[in-house]
Symmetry: C2
Subunit: 601 residues, 2 copies
């Protein structure tokens, strides 16, 4: 593996790229990383989701969109073809009542960037990473994630083939940097964005997406529900380096003026095709909310809290018929297989309160999702399963264990869970606790929760706080799972902390800006960044400084050759230690008995 | 149990008091609670740590201090006596070099409030809650916490007698509202305050204490290390409704000008007496850092990160003698027993990084703490054990299990633990995850971590964020442990959420101010507080509204008598459900098929 630097090495960090072995068949395979340059001359390489925006050598323009990195890979497979596509209609943007009737708009009007036609698999031919993996084919996407995760590509292919991992990558979203979601890989984080009838704009949504990925979001769901849904999505997709997920039901409902009972399979299918042609990488589908499940929610403390779940429940009741998504699931699978859209089978009946956790309604739906998972796999559609919600700590493990059993280890994708209901405005924290735990136990991707959950729409700061909180949960889980290499990051930061390399500590932090700002509040002067004490204790009381002194005079660097050598992680004999300490004690006295060394300024 | 309201019932909430049964022997036993008044006419009673400051009928004055609630209880026991006490010296406040030499100051000069003499047990007579409990005596303090925790007083006495719980209550701190720390009770939270050589003032520290308890801190540790230590502590104690903890070693070190090797047992003992006379309720004592443990830390990633631990390690090495706290532990026990100061046996060798978690040094010290716990109990001194630190999730349980085994179930009191090192500026979150888990598994009290950990001194906002985060962790653990009554709080809030009672949601929140502010950012108008939709989804998409509709027309209130009756938490037969849904479907159509109801004004 070699390293291509985007620009000359500077202070701090910069964007860099991992490439395959020299002479590899794929010179176009460049995996972005964040390369942190430490003041001790070492480098630390971190996973990077921020896309070309953090590469100063790339000229990005949101009106043009990102370069279609995967386009040649997709074309080279020869199993897809462009086609005219479904015409874009005013109602796709929720404009039925305000725009002139009958006017069709084409994609050029929606997005000013490079013109394109949608692409799909030839009839009856699944063009999914799952289908390729099952045939034993290694795609460039698989090679990309293998490099990115630092694992053999065989593992990637096997996990996808077994349905234990998904690689969401719509053939119409060639701009993405491929990533993988599965329990044998790094735990991933999704950030939700989306306008609503109440507030927000297209520009804000695109900005939220780039902002979320800058802080580490691995995928972004566009949950827009108001005007300009289609156009917003187009802009987000063309500018997104990460897979984009949606809930097609929200847009379908807009098309029938918000009247759930007027939803039809035709409207829904048309919406799925519309979004698949745009390039949506995974779709939440609430096909598991069955007619017979609905009465199970009647005595709940908080009923149905999933928007999609409640819409489908209302439809089922209004028509007294089975969920049309469940009834037409085979056809839906065929559509998704033609674009490699990944299923995210929605948990429409997830608990919305501690009282409702793990109840009959929730687990009845999970069993249905298990059935649907089997059907989807038969059609070679990549599939993950969504999970709760609000769950107290002692009921979390049952969720992941049952999901893994029922859904044949398909990736679990959970919202938190929130471990208590009592802290609105802090639900990133109530849920970060549950998220870390459930990810440790096997959840592959975590859907973030922001401080505004239950209260309002997240702004820029909320998105950042949500993403950082969930990166903490994900990384804590990577550590607990013993993910290879995960602890190197912690070790590098702790080394920097112990050696008072403040700048390295900041640059290695999940959020360097805030870490630096907090330090500066107490000790703003530049010398404090190199001073051998922390701002908490002042110069006289620093325990790390005392520790250094102990190490220097009583064992550290010269421990190897000293009498206490070899006692590192086990206790030496009483005698060994005594001898060692006596010798060291003399050294300590000879050095003037000084525990506190003069502060270098 | 009856309720005494501090003022007439108003909107929102107010301070109230629980008293014993009518005709009880103790009319002076009034347990403070936060009484939340819901708009549906119901009340929710919450545990309250904020002291008289939130009772508008009490006239507080920080220069006078709080009323000595426990004074009569202590006097009535007849086992303590006032005595002149140790003279206060300028060096107690770190003023050796600046104040005129030899000048003695009395307590009146230190604190302007009511003059008092210190009190202690008659010679050889332990006056600890542990001694009383072992003799089968029920103290008013035990009755107070029994009411406060809503458990029989026998449980309180038994848990204290067994050493599984502590009730920290120095006879010289009569101002406190008694509280209990033990795994059978609500999980408690400690907040640290303390000036340092670099910044802060007396007034700020007192204000931090009242601020921390306002948000739910159950105890406060005063970790001051700079000037005016004695005076700051006096002001904090006289104004604190919660137990105060300290680390006497910090002040002892000040008295020898910060030179660890000049520390002596005499200086330390004098400092302990000084602080015990002031009323410190529990003291962290680093008696478990033994000479033979120190080499075990030499190869650590981050050495010794506990200030107390590193000071004692330096002393041991400088003198090549055993820790003087360990050597004089019996005498120390006798002193503490005379004031009912509780031991918090410090984990001076706790891991300061993920790499060092659960290592030989940490567990060697834990075994020593186990020995010391046994000695302390022999002297009838209440004892809790401090725990780490930085620990990845998969290594957390071993900590609590081992501590419980080695220390005969003495209360565990842990700092976090932090589950990753990579997020400076967010260590309230990295540690809140670990705190919730370890508390679920049995930790009795959690020492908070603020966002400034590792970076600087916490300000007012940081203290609040730290306390709220830890209240979340503690409550999540109470839920997971199935603590009786814990879920009532969540249920009340979730009911309010489902019924769109926004004001009730805010008033029940851990932080009503922020919850209300976040909601107002998106939908500031007053009608939005009662509107039947949430600010996230807008009026058309609210899942809760749809759920209500389902409940009303398909099972909810009239489920009892309808054809689907009894299907609540279990699935009915196919036939029952079909019959029920058909009947309901007709109702739905009759009501105009309206899923979305008109929004109230």
């Amino acid at each position: 593996m070699t390293m291509q630097d985007a620009r000359t090495r500077g202070i701090g960090w910069h964007k860099s790229y991992l490439t395959g072995p020299t002479g590899s068949a794929r010179p176009d395979l460049r995996v972005p990383v964040r390369q942190v340059h430490l003041t001790n001359g070492r480098d630390v390489t971190l996973y990077d989701t921020s896309g070309p925006y953090t590469d100063p050598s790339v000229d990005t323009d949101v009106r043009r969109g990102l370069a279609p990195l995967r386009e040649n890979w997709i074309i080279a497979r020869g199993d897809t073809a462009e086609y005219p596509g479904r015409p874009v209609r005013p109602e796709d943007d929720g404009l039925r009542h305000t725009a002139p009737r009958g006017g069709l708009r084409n994609l050029d009007a929606v997005f000013p960037g490079r013109p394109r036609l949608p692409r799909r698999g030839r009839p009856g031919q699944p063009v999914t990473q799952l289908a390729y993996a099952r045939r034993g084919e290694t795609t460039p996407e698989m090679e990309f994630v293998a490099l990115r995760e630092n694992v053999p590509v065989e593992i990637v292919r096997e996990e996808i083939a077994a349905g234990r991992a998904v690689l969401p990558a719509n053939v119409n979203h060639p701009e993405i940097e491929p990533m993988i979601i599965g329990k044998r890989f790094l735990v991933k984080v999704n950030a939700n964005i989306g306008n609503s009838a109440v507030t927000s704009s297209i520009e804000e949504e695109v900005e939220k997406m780039t902002w979320a990925t800058r802080w580490g979001a691995d995928t972004v769901m566009d949950l827009s529900t108001g005007r300009n849904i289609h156009t917003t999505r187009e802009w987000v997709l063309r500018n997104s380096p990460v897979p984009i997920g949606t809930v097609p039901l929200y847009q379908a409902l807009e098309k029938v003026d918000g009247r759930a009972e007027e939803l039809t399979w035709d409207v829904y299918r048309d919406t799925v095709v519309e979004q698949a042609e745009q390039g949506v990488d995974y779709m939440t589908v609430h096909a598991g909310v069955l007619l017979r499940h609905v009465p199970l929610t009647a005595r709940r403390k908080t009923g149905i809290v999933s928007r999609g779940g409640s819409i489908m429940a209302a439809w089922c009741l209004a028509h007294h018929r089975e969920n049309f998504l469940y009834e037409n699931f085979d056809e839906l699978c065929d559509i998704l297989a033609g674009y490699d859209v990944t299923f995210s089978l929605g948990d429409g009946l997830r608990p919305g309160s501690i009282a409702d956790a793990n109840d009959a309604a929730q687990f009845a739906e999970l069993r249905t999702l298990g059935e649907l998972n089997t059907v989807a796999k038969r059609h070679h559609v990549q599939t993950m399963i969504e999970g709760p919600g609000h769950v107290p700590m002692h009921k979390i493990k049952e969720n992941i264990d049952l999901q893994q059993e029922i859904c044949e280890e398909a990736p679990f994708y959970t919202l938190g869970p929130l471990t208590t209901d009592i802290a609105p405005a802090y639900d990133h924290i109530t849920s970060g606790i549950g998220a870390a735990m459930i990810a440790w136990w096997g959840t592959a991707m975590l859907c973030y929760v922001t401080p505004k959950e239950h209260l309002g729409l997240p702004d820029r700061d909320d998105v950042k706080t949500g993403v950082i909180t969930y990166k903490i949960a994900a990384h804590a889980a990577d550590l607990a799972k013993g993910h290879p290499g995960a602890q190197e990051w912690d070790d590098a930061l702790s080394d920097a902390r112990f050696e008072f390399r403040w700048e390295d500590q900041f640059n290695l932090a999940l959020d360097p800006d805030t870490a630096r700002a907090f330090h500066d509040e107490t000790l703003p002067a530049e010398p404090a960044k190199t001073a051998h004490f922390c701002s908490m204790c002042g110069p006289k009381f620093c325990s790390m400084k005392i520790s250094h002194d102990i190490r220097r005079t009583h064992g550290g660097a010269d421990l190897e050759s000293g009498p206490a050598a070899g006692t590192g992680e086990r206790e030496g004999t009483e005698e060994e230690i005594r001898a060692g300490l006596e010798a060291k004690s003399a050294e300590f006295a000879a050095a003037g008995n000084r525990v506190y060394l003069p502060i270098a300024d």
